[in-house]
């Protein structure tokens, strides 16, 4: 029996190079596209059109129950965002970073799952 992995658990997913999960706040525009995030206690702007997809899960290993009415049981929404710190000090070089974030459908909370 493999270990139980929950989306909000701070544990490394099985695939990917630099992977972990941490909390992130995401602000969306009128079209429901993320355009601003607070990550690692800093405000960032989304600088490219975000890419969205859904990531399937091995729910039969990860979930104790599979009755109807569990949102996000089979897949959860993922966004790939290119972000840049909003305010940059003079000594700092603004660095654009690519992060994958997931939205937990039941709670509406966002997590960073990968930093590229």
């Amino acid at each position: 029996m493999s270990t139980v992995i929950r989306p909000e658990a701070d544990r490394a997913p099985r695939r990917g190079a630099v992977t972990f999960t941490e909390s992130i706040e995401v602000e969306c525009d009128e079209q429901s596209l993320p355009h601003r995030v607070i990550w690692q206690e800093r405000r960032h702007l989304v600088v490219e059109t975000p890419i969205r997809w859904f990531q399937r899960r091995s729910w039969w290993l990860e979930e104790p129950r599979a009755e109807r009415g569990r949102p996000g049981l089979v897949a959860h929404e993922m966004w790939r965002l290119q972000v840049e710190p909003e305010a940059v000090s003079r000594t700092e070089v603004a660095e654009v970073r690519t992060i994958d974030v997931s939205r937990h459908l039941a709670s509406g909370r966002w997590r960073v799952v990968r930093v590229h």
Partner: protein, 1115 residues
């Protein structure tokens, strides 16, 4: 802007789609969509339901199919609204299924092109083809093989031309994977480069994302794997019926990511344009609701069908009246139910019959159904001509026309049957005529019907088998990767509750108590599989699993039938079978005839054939049998009715014991009472009380006496309800039947108002009206159609008569065709109880059938039954053929050389004693032979000699091998013999299986079935036996009562388990094959006794009473 989903799989895409067409249409309607397609895999299985729902909800229907294209993946094909579009779709699907047995449905690109081409004189294409992610083009695009993508698309375009569309789909899979937006973008650019119009679909298989887990399970089960090892799982949960707004956003997302010039608006417009071209008009395109019957010329009529029907009925009636006159003059003993004349003169009878015939014919003419009746008459004639036993069944028996045409032997006037119960001007549904035939001849009859009417007018009907609890548990267990053994054990303890109520059943059902405890323990220890199993089983409930041939439905249509329904090969007989089921018949205007194979008819036919073969006696079961035979009724009253049609079940044996039938009409009543409705509504008790004089017979009003006197004032039959309505409100029998139907559908309110008002107008007192309404309300909707009862009573009596007068021949027929509800071994046990010698398998005498054989017991000749070799597990048809062809054999060597049996077959024949006849000392030497066969590994000394030249006689040389066989192993014990028989044939022929358990039974002080009748009411007993039946009929109280019947060798013990007993018994209630039970005797009638159990044990378990003492005794 609106959006139309053009690729939608419903749950009729078995092991793929998750929602019923009705649910999908309802969601589309709720979102304001103007149209919706259904495109199930391999067929139109859900099409009629889809259209029905669309018509109801004002959505324009579109029909299509997802088909495998030879070596090129899968594509969706849509019927266009052009003339012949729907027909082309049906024919294409039928073509796809024209494959050798075992191959899955598929078509070629050329097939698609052929059927897509416009009909003669038309411009518009009949079909459109969507090349999407599942076809080779989509697969090439998924693997980023741009060159192949375009090359393949060009190939498709060359063959299909303007019928082709590129289907753009994104399930928002991770970037780079199949069904990602990038995948959709590649399809879009391939479309643009190759100048093929792209359309957007969502390749829908879910109503909402909530169903995605169900689809995962279906994906795993489809490839017979578990979830963890299934590569074919959907990439995301996004294949759901998204609202138009979300589809528009998706179009924007795809087009934004694309470098082509195609805009989202354009993509959506293309889709909508195609949708409009595919909208169907059910009435003009597929003849929705219009009855279709074979053309008059096919039935052989040239003139007016109504006139033809009248002429045939009059001829039939004249013939019958003449026969009746003759019979009454000669006091014949045939099928003449009492009350046949009821004091009427022959002339009056003729008058009544003529008036009735006129009445029926005028209704049939008004409805235009004459061709249908003539068609059924033609089928009945075909069956008779083939010499097959047949009997009409169902409400059609109420019709004098049906009787006069020779379809039913029952005269409706003699039984007081009402035509309006079958057909009236007020009934919109097509009539249903059911014919029961010998089950063994069913397929031969189907073939004859196909031949007679032409295969373009006939197909079999199909049925969808849906998930129930056991199947759901098995497949959910498979998906979760549970060990097979655990799945088997789990499935075994499940007993008939809706799978969707699994969680609740765990709390309520005593047999699931220990499972519930296990789930609890495992949950705390972190194992979640059983919890998931419950949820997944609930999800699977009622989803269609696979299609199969309906057991009796034959669709008879006109020349166009195959343009209105796709057909595929029936798995049972290879004949064409419609993809539509019984609920689709009325909307499609298809007329079906039920030709039901009834095993009892075959068993009776076989008994009669054996009787003629062994004694030369030929019996006409209709005219040559006394239907008031005291010996037969004495047998029925004894309740030893195992093997008799309709009256062999535990509940029926109890009812027979209480009712004590004395006439054929009593049997009609008995059969009518033993239905879920009557049993549940409590009408049985007053009937019995009054019948036996414990309660006074009374009628609410003298007008009702003639209606109710045959059932002592109790309403039993639908016919009585109709007559009460008609008498007290003068509403006419057709309206009366509508009132009855309304009441059975819980719409009694308006019926009550009508009844009270109308009856009051006719001067019935308020008290009478109250009383009658009360009766109608409590019994009216539950009664049984007397026509059914009358139709069933005839074969019931025939089987009882045969069992009484020719028991060996009758039981031989039962063995051969195994018609009833019990396992064959119970019938074998019954034969033993009746003293019929059971002659063991014998390689020189047994064949592939059971036979009656003359034998003697204590010097007196009796008929015995020779067991058939067909019961030997593992014997092949070819081996049976060779044995039958080469019989008799003079020695083991002779058998070995000429029958060329498999070693295992030879070994098993030795073990069951079928070769005793070849041993010098018979059965005594069997143990030696078994040991020798097992030790020599069947080498038989030498290699078999070369096959003998035809015609050359073999020398009668001694059987060298047997002469050399070591002897002295002694004789087998009776219980060894029985155990081997059960293992190898599932039958205990030489003795009863309970003999093996005798020590335990004795130690526990068990009582046997034959002693139960002599015990006083309330006595405490222990009984034991092998389970032969388990039933949970609906009860008036609504609580579950489990009835279990055990066979202990002296007869049947019928046990009832109420709540507490179920609780005390637990898991083995449904799982154990042999039980010991403790309980009290309940006497319910002169011959009726049951044991009300307090608890039961698995007889082979360790805790069973007597086990310890027996073990101590044998030690």
């Amino acid at each position: 802007m609106t959006f139309t989903h053009l690729n939608v799989a419903s749950s009729f895409s078995s092991h793929y789609g998750t929602n019923r067409p009705q649910e999908l249409v309802a969601a589309a309607a709720a979102d304001g969509m103007r149209a919706l397609a259904i495109t199930d895999r391999d067929g139109l299985y859900g099409a009629v339901k889809h259209i029905g729902a669309c018509v109801d909800l004002g959505v324009a229907p579109i029909l299509g199919v997802s088909l495998a294209v030879e070596e090129r993946g899968r594509a969706v094909v849509l019927a266009s609204g052009a003339s012949g579009g729907y027909a082309a779709l049906c024919q294409l699907i039928s073509r796809a299924h024209e494959r050798p047995q075992g191959e899955s449905a598929r078509v070629s690109l050329q097939d698609l092109a052929e059927f897509a081409a416009p009909a003669a004189g038309e411009v518009r294409r009949r079909l459109f083809v969507l090349a999407g992610p599942e076809c080779e083009i989509g697969e090439a695009a998924a693997s980023r093989d741009y060159r192949s993508t375009r090359a393949l698309l060009r190939q498709w375009r060359e063959v299909l031309g303007e019928a082709l569309r590129v289907e753009v789909v994104s399930h928002l899979a991770p970037p780079g994977e199949a069904l990602s937006t990038a995948h959709a973008v590649r399809m879009l650019s391939a479309a643009q480069v190759s100048r093929v119009t792209p359309v957007l679909t969502n390749a829908v298989r879910l109503l909402s994302t909530d169903e995605a887990a169900t689809a995962d399970v279906l994906d795993a089960v489809r490839v017979l794997s578990d979830l963890h090892h299934t590569a074919a799982l959907q990439p995301t949960d996004q294949g759901w019926l998204k609202p138009a707004a979300q589809m528009e956003a998706l179009a924007a997302e795809i087009c934004a990511a694309s470098t082509t010039s195609t805009s989202a608006e354009e993509l959506l417009e293309n889709t909508e344009r195609l949708a409009r071209q595919c909208e169907l008009d059910p009435v003009t395109d597929m003849g929705w609701g219009q009855p279709k019957v074979p053309e008059a010329t096919v039935i052989g009529i040239e003139g007016d069908p109504d006139e033809e029907l009248r002429a045939r009925c009059e001829a039939g009636l004249a013939e019958m009246l003449a026969a009746e006159e003759q019979a009454s003059a000669g006091q014949g003993s045939g099928l003449e139910p009492e009350g046949a004349a009821q004091g009427n003169t022959a002339q009056e009878n003729v008058g009544t019959a003529r008036a009735r015939l006129e009445h029926e014919l005028s209704i049939i003419a008004d409805l235009g159904f004459a061709p249908y009746f003539l068609t059924v008459a033609e089928v009945a004639r075909l069956i008779r001509e083939m010499g097959v036993r047949a009997a009409a069944r169902g409400s059609a028996v109420s019709s004098l026309v049906v009787h006069a045409l020779g379809i039913s032997p029952i005269d409706p006037l003699q039984h007081g049957l009402i035509f309006e119960r079958f057909l009236s001007r007020r009934r919109s549904t097509l009539p249903d005529i059911d014919i029961d035939v010998e089950s063994a001849e069913r397929h031969r009859i189907y073939r004859a019907v196909f031949k007679r009417f032409g295969s373009q007018r006939v197909t079999l009907m199909s049925m969808q088998n849906a998930y129930r609890i056991r199947g759901a548990v098995r497949d959910a267990g498979l998906a979760l990767g549970l060990p097979e053994e655990e799945i088997d054990q789990l499935a075994e303890i499940m007993w008939r509750f809706p799978a969707r109520e699994f969680r609740r059943a765990l709390e309520e059902k005593p047999e699931l108590r220990s499972l519930a405890e296990r789930i609890e323990t495992e949950r705390t220890s972190g194992r979640q599989q059983l919890d998931l199993l419950v949820d997944l089983s609930e999800r699977l409930d009622r989803l269609p699993r696979h299609i199969s041939t309906h057991p009796c439905g034959v669709i008879l249509g006109n020349n166009n039938l195959l343009k209105l329904t796709p057909v595929e090969r029936s798995g049972v007989n290879g004949l064409p079978m419609s993809q539509f089921d019984k609920d689709d018949m009325d909307p499609m205007g298809f007329i079906k005839l039920d030709v039901l194979g009834v095993r009892m008819q075959s068993a009776i036919a076989y008994a009669l054939t054996e009787l003629q073969r062994t004694t030369g006696e030929v019996i006409d079961m209709v005219k040559g049998v006394d239907y008031a035979d005291p010996a037969t009724f004495a047998m029925i009253q004894s309740t030893h009715t195992l093997g008799c049609f309709q009256i062999e079940s535990p509940g029926q044996r109890e009812l027979i014991g209480k009712l004590v039938p004395e006439t054929l009409n009593d049997l009609v009543v008995d059969i009518s009472l033993f239905r879920p409705g009557p049993m549940g509504s409590g009408m049985v008790k007053p009937y019995l009380e009054r019948r036996h004089g414990y309660e006074e017979v009374g009628y609410p009003h003298p007008d009702l006496e003639p209606i109710l006197d045959e059932t002592y004032g109790v309403v039993v039959f639908h016919e009585q309800v109709l007559r009460i309505f008609d008498t007290m409100t003068e509403c006419g029998l057709d309206v009366a039947d509508e009132l009855r139907r309304a009441m059975s559908k819980d719409k009694a309110g308006p019926v009550e108002i009508f009844f009270r008002e109308e009856a009051a107008k006719r001067n019935y007192s308020a008290a009478v009206i109250d009383r009658v309404w009360e009766i109608l309300l409590s019994f009216g909707s539950f009664g049984f159609c007397k026509a059914h009862g009358a139709a069933f009573a005839v074969p019931t009596y025939q089987s009882a008569w045969l069992k009484t007068h020719h028991p060996a021949h009758f039981l031989c027929g039962l063995f051969e065709h195994d018609p009833g509800m019990y396992p064959l071994r119970l019938l074998v046990s019954e034969a033993r109880r009746l003293g019929i010698p059971l002659l063991p398998m014998d390689v020189n005498r047994s064949t592939s059938s059971y036979h009656v054989e003359a034998t003697s017991v204590a010097g007196l000749p009796v008929w015995g039954i020779r067991m058939s070799l067909i019961g030997l597990k593992g014997i092949s048809k070819a081996e049976l053929r060779r044995i039958e062809a080469e019989q008799p054999f003079s020695s083991l060597a002779d058998l070995r050389d000429r029958s060329r049996l498999k070693r295992s077959t030879l070994r098993d024949l030795v073990k069951v004693g079928a070769l005793d006849c070849l041993l010098p000392e018979g059965r005594k030497g069997r143990k030696d032979l078994i040991q020798w066969v097992e030790s020599t590994n069947l080498e038989f000394g030498k290699k078999p000699p070369a096959r003998q030249v035809q015609g050359q006689l073999s020398l009668p040389i001694e059987d060298v091998e047997v002469a050399n066989m070591p002897t002295g192993a002694g004789e087998l014990q009776a219980r060894e013999i029985v155990t081997t028989e059960l293992d190898l044939t599932s039958l205990d022929t030489s003795g009863h299986v309970m003999e093996i358990h005798r020590p335990v039974l004795e130690a526990a002080g068990a009582t046997f079935a034959e002693q139960l009748l002599s015990l006083r009411n309330g006595a405490t007993v222990r009984v034991a036996g092998i389970r032969v039946a388990t039933q949970t009929p609906p009860m008036a109280s609504g609580k579950r009562v489990v009835f279990i019947t055990l066979d202990d060798g002296t007869g049947c013990v019928d046990l009832s388990f109420f709540e507490e007993a179920q609780y005390n018994t637990g898991e083995c209630l449904f799982a154990a094959k042999m039980l010991m039970a403790e309980g009290t005797i309940r006497r319910t009638g002169p011959r009726a006794v049951t044991v009300q159990a307090t608890r039961a044990w698995d007889l082979r378990g360790e805790t069973v009473p007597g086990q310890l003492r027996a073990a101590a005794g044998s030690a």
